[in-house]
Amino acid sequence: MELLILPLALSLVSLIIPKSTRRFAALLGALASIVIAVVHLTSFHAGAFVELFSSNHQTFFRMTYQMGYDGLGLAMILLTNVIVFVILLANFENVNIASNKMFNSMVFLMQFALLGVFTSFDLILFYIFWELSLIPVFLIAFWFGEKDRKRTLLIFFIYTFIGSLAMLFSIFYIGTLTTGNYDYQTLVDIEMNTKTALVVCMGFFFAFAVKIPLFPFHTWQPETYTKSPMAGTMLLSGLMLKMALFGILRWMLPLTPEAYHCYKYVIIVLGLIGVIYAAVIAMKQNDLKKIFAYASISHVGLIAAGLMILSIDAFTGAVVQMVNHAFVAVGLFLAADIIDRRLGRRDIQTLGGIAVKAPKFAFWFAVICFAAVSVPLTSGFIGEFLLIKELFTDNAWIGVLIGTTLILACVYTFRAYQLSMYGKESSFNFNDLTITEIITFAIISIIVVVFGIYPQLLIDLVKPSLETILMTIKESSI
């Protein structure tokens, strides 16, 4: 239980810590949460289910408050805690933000909400945490974002909120099918006919599709990413998005396998369109953040499509790619922000020649870029290999088309990298990376490379729970 209480406590404590020590305290707190997660990891046996908290009191809404984690959940918990640490570290130099009490408080609140999402085994609880996570990220973007953010953020809020409402309807609808019990196992065991399942899954799908975001529901994303402060963008792309993918894996697929054959190709095709469409757009954009925002749409489209293939390879690939994308996205946005913070602009047409001034930055940015185009030895390659392989096995044409992401990603990533970094030495001043920034990049790169060389570490952790999920889906979908 301390897993969840710690971030909540940190969120409150960071409000009263004096300003001078605030950012150090926040880092320490985040580190502590990683330690706790690692302690949980060391005592975890593959395939086990660890219950964190459960209550059978029939209280308001007759909630049963069951929380816990399996391998998948634990992987996501670790991911959350590490990413939160990395985000705090990435912002460490940015004193205005890092020493703001509301910022730290909101980041930890976000962490709390995310951990709640990943450990909930009760649908109502899941929904509460899901909605809770929207508040801190919205506030961070609202308080610290760029000047003309209000309208963008309003659209973002309303859009995601409507998505969540759709999910809420589905949740209530599913509640009428049971005796008002929203426990995970009970819900999984419900036998629905295809029509009911389709209605239920539509609500979930809309909520998840907006948050991922899948192709036609993505318009809020590039604008929001651009207008948010870097920390907000990182939270959105690194973690919020994973929440939705996790939601598909944990809730949508096992709950509505009866309708699986109806939505399978819908989602795959939307993912496929998203992959190509966003990549093509990213090729001609000039704002670094916008390029990476569209890149993000392109990358997650592949994950979402891959999740629709019912095989252990695809699921594993999706989880590996989720982890990879979280780190890579954070790294890319950090690089964009470093340029933005040093020069006050992000338009790649006006940049150039940074590599000469800041060779360290050039090196680490290049590493992240290589990870972003998923070259071998980075976890992105393992993830994409498995995902594309399974999509290809399912349908050769879709596999080939979605495989073009390998080529397209190169085009926009290296265009962004070269136009901003290459070229002759320019007149502006550009300080090279500070030590904390180097550490941040190093952490990201090490994790990405370790999972790229030895992905089995992650696979062993998540495989049993993925197999369980797969089994529940397959039992009812056939």
Partner: protein, 640 residues
């Protein structure tokens, strides 16, 4: 130590070199950084030699299991047979020489340590490519060399004028390679589908021993996908335009990566999978014709190029095309033979051109050179040897390897033989043109530069001399039967047939001795005639390549690279950019955002209408209230 233990060491040394240079290279003196990198590669070469000499049966050495999911089992393992060891010898051997050369060539560069880091990293990736025990490992190396190639092409990214262009060339190379990579990746998926494994040993056992073959379409799909991968890496039509652009990199890079090693990866892939191609005759036909077309097209373009490196680059493409013709004819050992000799003389030519460029203070345009033969004597002689070797001058290495290919082509069909002869003739023409324009005649650049021309230091000339010797005697590796009746002939052939899966099953019909002699005679005649005519045109008359504006139609066509880049621009780049614009401005910002905006607008608009009711006058409110009440009452009365 057993071979199993030696194999990982082979990879380890370049990696250590890259690591040390990458982390501490900036603080090391230049000579230390350079010699460290060279030494590491050379140690690898020695280890490779040890393994090669002791290798009898193929050896597999497991490092660790990379992915183990129920159906999917991928090992990180190394595999040594004569093919991979032969390639390793070329990579580390020629690699060491080029490292040595770079120590002199790059001595004025401030990115010295970085250069050697990348070079060592490249050697490491290339070794993974050839030594991996499965297609998955091969793919790791395959992409790894792509990255190193990208880094090295864009090495001078901070150049005043050409910084961004260098970057663009690097990006082009990487993207084109990636197109091929996607093909290869799909080939891998197909193999996983049909064989369930990517291990060479298992696949070859299934095909050769158990005769478990996928159906013809599947086999065609697999082989064609592998071949698409090969076209990307080995610069064949349609994915060849990146290689000439890749000359933006420093010259040693062009020698190592874009002539001797990386571009032969595609050939290695096909030879490695020969048993699959054996059962896919249609793919072999495609390979044959693609190789033939590439060979002729590239040779034609090379005729009127004026950049010394561009000529050599197109020559490389052309030679690779020639090798693919050999692959299409299933003459695998011949292909490897030509890969070997080509590695020698093309590395020599590139390094020689590097030495020339070094002497010319960075000038690459041959119209500005001339009369260099007395100023840089060693470079001149070695370059001449390279030129003779590539043109197929009798008894030089290129003579034997090219002749074998021509011989097989003759055995296959006369048309292909004639087309190949045209290509070979063009090769001789542009090579002699290059040689004579650069080294004979009068010096055509400013006095300043002329004053500066000097022979390169020993670290640069030594590799030239070694490679020159190899280019001369390289032919003995696989002497045709007519020369020595006995054990000396077909050394490479016997070597590869010994323990490379599949190769011993293929029995090519060698042309009989008379035919061989006639073909040789034709080749010699072509070479000598070209040499004679070239020497008259360029040496006696002293003609200089004319300016672009004065070229005739066919010359412009050749000079402008047959407009391939422009064609690709119209076919792919422009449409994609157009789509990008349309997607962003119309679909994204207008339609999709418009729908959201539309919802908002509708709500606001309906609000405006309903607002009209609210007059603010009490009377009207009451009026509507009364109407409401009357309405309700009437409704319920009617209902009753």
């Amino acid at each position: 130590m057993s071979i199993q233990q030696l194999l990982p060491l082979l990879l380890l040394f370049p990696l250590i070199g890259a690591f040390i240079n990458g982390t501490a290279g900036k603080k090391l003196p230049k000579i230390v950084a350079g010699s460290l990198a060279t030494l590491m590669t050379f140690v690898s070469f020695l280890i490779a030699l040890t393994i090669f000499l002791n290798l009898d049966q193929p050896v597999r050495s497991l490092l660790f299991t990379m992915i183990d999911i129920d159906s999917l089992h991928l090992d990180a393992a190394l595999y040594a047979d004569n093919l991979s060891m032969w390639m390793t010898l070329i990579i580390t051997g020629v690699g060491s020489l080029i490292h040595l050369f770079s120590m002199g060539y790059m001595s004025h560069d401030k990115g010295y340590y970085k250069f050697f880091t990348y070079l060592n990293l490249f050697i490491f990736s290339m070794l993974i490519l050839v030594l991996g025990s499965n297609y998955f490992m091969l793919f790791f190396g395959w992409e790894g060399v792509g990255i190193c190639s990208y880094l090295l092409i864009g090495f001078h990214y901070d150049d005043e004028q050409k910084g961004l262009l260098n970057g663009l060339a690097a990006r082009k190379a990487f993207i084109m390679n990636r197109i091929g990579d996607l093909g290869l990746l799909i080939g891998l998926f197909l193999m996983l589908l049909s064989f369930g494994t990517l291990e060479y040993e298992q696949v070859s056992r299934m095909v050769l021993v158990d005769k478990i073959l996928p159906n013809g379409n599947m086999l065609f799909a697999i082989t064609i996908c592998l071949f698409i991968g090969a076209t990307g890496k080995s610069a064949q039509i349609p994915l060849f335009t990146w290689l000439p652009d890749a000359m933006a990199g420093p010259t040693p890079v062009s020698a190592l990566i874009h002539a001797a090693t990386m571009v032969t990866a595609g050939i290695f892939l096909v030879v490695r999978s020969n048993y699959l191609f054996h059962y896919a005759p249609f793919t072999r036909e495609i390979i044959l014709y693609i190789g033939l077309a590439t060979s002729i097209v590239a040779a034609f373009i090379a005729l009127r190029q004026n950049d010394i490196k561009k000529v050599l680059a197109y020559s490389t493409v052309s030679q690779l095309g020639l090798i693919f013709v050999a692959l299409g004819l299933e003459a695998y050992t011949t292909a490897i033979f030509h890969v070997t000799t080509h590695a020698f003389f093309k590395a020599l030519l590139f390094l020689g051109s590097g030495s020339v460029i070094h002497a010319m203070s960075g000038e690459q345009d041959i119209r500005k050179m001339g009369g260099l033969k007395d100023k840089i004597r060693i470079t001149h002689i070695t370059f001449l040897i390279g030129t003779l070797a590539i043109s197929g001058f009798p008894l030089f290495s290129g003579f034997y390897s090219k002749d074998e290919i021509l011989g097989y082509a003759f055995g296959h069909s006369l048309t292909i033989y004639i087309l190949l002869v045209i290509s070979v003739t063009m090769t001789a023409i542009y090579m002699f043109r290059l040689y004579f324009v650069v080294f004979h005649g009068t010096f055509r650049d400013s006095k300043d530069v002329e004053h500066h021309v000097h022979e390169s230091p020993l670290s640069m000339t030594l590799p030239l001399m070694v490679l020159a010797v190899l280019s001369v005697i390289g032919g003995v590796l696989n002497l045709p039967g007519i020369f020595l009746h006995g054990s000396g002939t077909h050394f490479l052939n016997n070597l590869l047939n010994k323990n490379v899966a599949g190769l011993d099953q293929i029995h090519n019909v060698h042309p009989d001795h008379t035919t061989t002699l006639i073909l040789m005679g034709v080749a010699v005649a072509i070479c000598l005639t070209t040499l004679f005519i070239s020497s008259i045109v360029y040496k006696k008359k002293g003609s200089v390549p004319s300016e672009d504006a004065q070229l005739s139609a066919w010359e412009t066509f050749s000079n402008k690279k047959m407009y391939w880049d422009e064609l690709y621009d119209i076919l792919f780049v422009k449409p994609i950019e157009w789509f990008s614009k349309v997607f962003y401005t119309i679909v994204d910002s207008f339609i999709l955002s418009g729908i959201i905006e539309g919802v908002v607008r509708t709500v606001a608009f309906s609000g405006d209408i309903v607002r009209k009711w609210q007059t603010g006058k009490v009377n009207s409110y009451i009026l509507w209230m009364v109407f409401g009440i009357i309405g309700f009452i009437t409704y319920y009365l009617i209902k009753l």
